[in-house]
Every structure is written in structure tokens, then in C-alpha cells.
Amino acid sequence: MAAPESGDGNNGAARMVTLISSDNTRFEVEAAAASLSQTLQLTILDGGGGGGDGIPLPNVDSATLSKVLEYCIKHAPAAANGGAPNATAVDRAELERFDNEFVNIDQSVLYSLIMAAHNLEIEGLQSLVAKKVADMIKGKSPMEIRRTLGFPDPTPEEQAEMNAHMLEYGWAYE
């Protein structure tokens, strides 16, 4: 994911854009950070989001957007280097530490992030939150997964089906 504003850093102040959450909060961020979103990148390339305009994001509330932007701001420099092939091990370790910390959040926030990352097409964030949910279900039985993710209790038929599978696929439960 290359940021389109590679020249900005050399021309003094970086270009800023304004994003407006569903609950009408305005966020001003560097265009390079917002451009991590494939969806926003096109608008920004067209010159949108500058001045008093702002880009409305009717599907993302302010709490989620501020979290999303926290991610984008942290990852923008590495993305600007074309995935940071020459980043130092320290930089990479720092990003990894940030990522781990970043997804250490309440489940409802995590779900909002999944939706936002999907709507805004932020590849790295999509992958990060998906990995987090996968980690949450790792090592758990189907029943435990249901509880973890807040599914309603299974109907008797569903329960019977799960038991039958359990007999057939014993190795999944070892």
C-alpha cells in the first residue's frame, strides 16, 4: 500500500484532510495517514477532504474513527516507504508492539473496528483485527467459541449435531 503523497514531507507542512464521523465529530489528519484507506485514497487523490470540506464517513462513529486513525497515523510512515523494506528491526518491533497493544481491547470495539476496516478498506488493519479474532477462537471447543463470541445457546437440534460431530471428529477435541 503506497501512500500517494510521497512529496509532501519535502514541501514543509504535510497536507491535511478532515474526516467527519457519523456523529459529526471532525478529525484532522495527514493525508498520508488517511490514505491507508483504499476508499479514502481516491477521494484524497482527487483533492477532496481539504479546507473546510471534510469527508463524511456515515458508517463510522467517532470512537471507532479515532481508534482507526490511531492505527493509520502509526502505520503511515512505514506504508510510505512501500511496506518499509529498509525499516530497522527496532522500527518493526515497535510496530509489532503497537499492534499487539492496539487490539488488546473490548470485544465490541473490536467488532466495530472489523466493520470500519472493511468499509474503509484498510488492508493492514483488516488483517490485524481478523488475526485477533482468530487468536480468540484458537484452542477453544465449538461451544466455547459460541460463548466467547456471544452466540445464543444452541437449540437442542444444534446441540445434538455438535455432539455427533464430536464423536466423528474426535481428533478435533484432543
Binding site: 483485527v129 479474532v133 466467547t148
Partner: protein, 289 residues
């Protein structure tokens, strides 16, 4: 905890895709959570995406013979479904999720001497032995993908070739013929005289004399080595050595590499489930239990 409000299939798929390929039980348990997840995970599209994301199929275990039955030593949580095939066969080769078996039961028909088997779906396809004019003393066979330009990420259900190589009694002539799942027939024989220096080809001389290379996991650079009465995998790139089994009399060791995505018995009809046979079209039946 709140349930994901309306996480559409696309989003559920995103996190299910991140289940680790080297822990097949994880994806299997997820498939049993609810019907919707099951349909998603057992579909062709999911299998394709899972393979594309993770790229390299893990070694799920290896087959070997020890006196009579064929055994499977798992190196992950995966276990093949119970099958009579294991009782009567030895493994000749495995590639792209298919295993080529040699049916050792002499009373069985010539038509089912070779069997291509998919240990994940349980699908199988028997083939006859090729007919040679000269009698041959030693032979082996390999199973390959027939699709041109295939990336082999998800070709287990596609068309395949079986290459049969035999050496005659004089040990001067090596003949090859090829079976295509498409025609369901063996090609004409081609005969060649060729000597390959295996030591050079495999460059295994560096290994201690007491270590015996018994198998090679094509594509991921893992060799299986026997030392005294224990078996190890050696990762050629990292030199990482892992002990995987103990015991004597291992032979015909065939590593099995594949992405495991569940293809549960009663596959639903929507969501495009995978065929339960390791080929498209033609006669097939499910391996008996």
C-alpha cells in the same frame, strides 16, 4: 459479550481464514460452531482463499508401512478418516493433497491395484496397473496434477496424472507410462535408458552415515531422517531438527502436505461445497469405513 452485530459472511471469513494451517483442528472446531460457519469453511471459495493467504501447505504428517497396515503419523492435529484402504495398501507417493496407494491384496482385481485417495475428503479413485510386454522387477509411481499452469494451491479435486516407472529384469530398460484421470487410461509405453546419480541430485552426502534419509517433503524443504530407531524431520533451510516418531521397521515413508479445510460428510448444497472425490467426473466412491 455482545455478538458481532451483523458481521456479514465476508467478515466472518476474514477471521476464519487466519486460523493457523498447521493446527487443522482449529478450523474443524470452527466449522462445527454453527451451520453458517460450516457452510463457509467447507466451501470451495474458502479453501481457495485459505491456500492463497497461507501459500505453503503444511506437512500434516506422513504415511509409512510397518509390516501390514499403512499407518499415518501425524505431525499436526490432523487425522485421516478411518478407512479400509489403510489396511490393504502401501503409500507410493503424495502430492497436492492426493495420496497414491498400492493395493497389496493379491486377490483384488487388477483394475483396482492403484488407488488415488484424498485423506481429507475421503474420496478415492481406483486405477488398473499398466500392462507391459516385458516383465519388470522394480517399479514405482507418482501422482501429479494435470492442470496446465496450476499453482497447486487448490487442485486436489482436479484432474491428475499417475506416472509409472518400471525397470525390466535385465535392468537395462526403464519404461514409463502415464495415466490420465481425464481419459481414464494409460498412455503408450516410452522406454529409455538413463542413469541418475542420486547422491549428486539430492546432495545428502553431508549427512552422517548412521542417518538414513527416508523421505522428502517436496516444496517445503523438509527431509525425513531415520537415526537408529527414531525419526526426525530436518528443515533444510533452518536446520531445525524435530523428533517425530520412534520405532523400527519404517519403510515407504511418504510425507503428506496439504491445507486442511473441513469437508464434512453431509456437505450442504449451497455455498458450493467441494466434491468428495479427488477428481472431477468419472466413477468414484467414498472410502468405506
Amino acid at each position: 459479550m455482545s455478538q458481532p452485530p451483523e458481521l456479514v459472511d465476508d467478515l466472518v471469513e476474514e477471521f476464519l481464514l487466519r486460523c493457523p494451517p498447521d493446527d487443522p483442528a482449529c478450523l474443524l472446531r470452527a466449522a462445527l460452531v454453527c451451520k453458517r460457519w460450516y457452510r463457509l469453511i467447507s466451501g470451495r471459495r474458502f479453501r481457495r482463499r485459505f491456500a492463497e493467504l497461507h501459500r505453503t501447505a503444511p506437512m500434516l504428517g506422513f504415511f509409512y508401512c510397518r509390516l501390514a497396515p499403512l499407518r499415518f503419523v501425524p505431525t499436526t492435529s490432523f487425522r485421516p478418516p478411518p478407512s479400509d484402504l489403510l489396511r490393504i495398501s502401501r503409500a507410493l507417493d503424495a502430492r497436492h493433497g492426493r495420496v497414491l496407494l498400492h493395493n497389496l491384496f493379491s486377490c483384488q482385481l487388477e483394475e483396482t491395484k492403484l488407488i488415488v485417495w484424498d485423506p481429507i475428503t475421503g474420496g478415492m479413485r481406483p486405477l488398473p496397473m499398466p500392462r507391459f510386454r516385458r516383465s519388470y522387477t522394480s517399479w514405482t509411481a507418482a501422482v501429479l496434477c494435470l492442470e496446465a499452469g496450476c499453482d497447486h494451491l487448490d487442485c486436489g479435486g482436479g484432474r491428475f496424472l499417475v506416472v509409472f516407472v518400471a525397470t525390466d529384469e535385465s535392468e537395462r530398460f526403464t519404461s514409463t507410462c502415464i495415466y490420465s484421470s481425464e481419459n481414464g487410461a494409460w498412455s503408450k509405453l516410452t522406454t529409455a535408458i538413463k542413469v541418475i546419480d542420486l547422491e549428486d541430485a539430492l546432495s545428502v552426502r553431508a549427512l552422517e552415515a548412521s542417518a538414513q534419509v527416508v523421505g522428502f517433503a517436496d516444496g517445503i524443504g523438509i527431509i525425513l531422517v531415520r537415526m537408529v530407531d527414531a525419526f526426525f524431520t530436518v528443515d533444510v533451510k533452518s536446520n531445525l531438527v524435530k523428533k517425530i516418531a520412534e520405532g523400527l521397521d519404517f519403510f515407504n515413508v511418504v510425507p503428506y502436505l496439504s491445507f486442511y479445510t473441513p469437508a464434512l460428510g453431509a456437505a450442504s448444497s449451497d455455498g458450493g461445497p467441494r466434491a468428495t472425490a479427488p477428481h472431477s467426473g468419472g466413477a468414484c466412491r467414498k472410502a468405506s469405513r
